[in-house]
């Protein structure tokens, strides 16, 4: 029996499994998007349909809705693996666990984050967002949603063993989302004044790089604690 260790093979195998599962239960992909849509339609109803006001609030609304809808899907990221014992098999696999975790978070982003980014132009129409801010919003979401997945997965890993970990996870994770929210909305604000917002994007990008390097290690430790 030959063992060939290829990190790429592991990465694609883990990604493929999670995507396969998501496509078999399509609600997992569709529900966070519907939630996003509903939150966004609630705002014009609550604060009135005045176009100028909506346009000014749109980036904030989109970002808060994105935070909340990412939270929805996070609970699922390790839950099934924890309950059916796959997590133990992943820990006892001959590959490093952080790499497996990286693949899982990436798959999670493909399932929840990417559709959100792609749908944003449609939602922006609902909120009368101008095209300049739209570009900034999409760019910040593109850098920001993977960051949300990484930070959230730490919380998900810590709470996966708990009976009702969902609320606790939100309490743990939402405060950590604040820096992302600040820089993202600041970038969009700056863009609406036709100024250069590459500084904020660079900071988001730097945070993402740090998250890609360090979050998988933190998530692995959290999972090991949860399994024991």
């Amino acid at each position: 029996m030959i063992r060939q260790h290829s990190y790429l093979q592991l990465f694609s195998a883990v990604c493929k499994k999670d995507l396969q599962l998501a496509f078999r239960q399509r609600a997992e992909i569709v529900n966070p998007l519907l939630f996003f849509l509903i939150v966004i339609t609630l705002f014009p109803l609550a604060i009135g349909p005045e176009p100028g006001l909506l346009a000014r609030m749109a980036p904030g609304i989109i970002w808060v809705a994105a935070l909340l809808s990412t939270m929805l899907g996070l609970d699922k990221i390790f839950r099934d693996d924890y309950h059916d014992g796959s997590l133990e098999q992943l820990i006892a696999s001959s590959y490093p666990l952080p790499l497996t975790v990286l693949a899982k978070v990436f798959a999670h982003w493909l399932i929840t984050g990417l559709p959100l980014v792609l749908m944003t132009p449609v939602f922006a129409l609902l909120l009368n967002l101008d095209s300049q801010s739209l570009v900034a919003t999409v760019l910040t979401l593109l850098l920001g949603t993977p960051l949300l997945s990484f930070i959230g997965a730490i919380g998900a890993g810590l709470t996966v063993g708990l009976q009702k970990g969902g609320i606790l996870m939100s309490l743990l994770v939402l405060p950590l989302y604040i820096p992302v929210l600040i820089f993202a909305t600041s970038a969009i604000d700056t863009s609406s004044m036709s100024l250069d917002y590459s500084g904020q994007l660079a900071i988001l990008g730097a945070m993402l790089v740090v998250a890609i390097m360090s979050a998988p290690i933190a998530i692995s430790s959290a999972l090991k604690v949860s399994v024991s």
């Binding site: 029996m1 592991l10 014992g85």
Partner: protein, 177 residues
């Protein structure tokens, strides 16, 4: 080696500590004279663990499950899988999601790994659960061939082993309050 003892004696806890999933309160676990906490990757390479929760995803089919397991272990012997399905009695059920299979068939899906690995140490928690008599005998045949190849097996079971194993050791845990 068989681990025996009444319910609640701590058999599963001990197996999980030996497999490195839980930390012991005192002491350490050694594999080939190295502490497994320090050299877990080396240990994991030679370990096959099948617990109560077997690590089989109910939404995926038997083939997808086993193939995924082979990939996360770095094995490239997928061609051995299909002949094996026939031997273990899962032929025709390859493309059925595991949740639609019976408990015994689900257990067989998990146990397929025993024929597809080269791990030295097998840690099996109640491997005979839900298996029929033929399944139990078939599994014990596999145990014999693993032991002949110089492997080691650590298992818990409430059933008596029907095959005679030459160097079977039994450790009995007591239930303490």
């Amino acid at each position: 080696m068989q681990l025996a003892g009444p319910n609640g004696a701590g058999k599963t806890s001990l197996l999980r500590i030996i497999a490195g999933f839980a930390a012991p309160d005192e002491g350490d676990v050694f594999w080939r004279e190295n502490s497994i906490t320090k050299n877990y990757d080396d240990f994991a390479r030679e370990l096959l663990f099948i617990g109560h929760k077997t690590g089989v995803n109910a939404q995926l089919t038997a083939v997808e499950n086993v193939r995924f397991w082979l990939q996360i272990q770095g094995y490239s012997n997928e061609q051995e899988l299909y002949p094996l399905l026939a031997k273990i009695g899962l032929v025709g059920l390859e493309d059925v999601p595991v949740r639609s299979l019976s408990a015994g068939q689900q257990r067989r899906v998990a146990l397929l790994r025993l024929w597809l690995n080269d791990a030295k140490l097998w840690i099996l928690d109640e491997p005979f659960t839900a298996l029929d008599k033929a399944g139990v005998a078939f599994l014990q045949d596999r145990f014999v061939s693993h032991l002949e190849n110089g492997g080691a097996i650590l298992l818990t079971t409430h059933q008596d082993l029907t095959t005679h194993f030459n160097d079977l050791q039994t450790v009995t845990l007591e239930y303490r309050h």
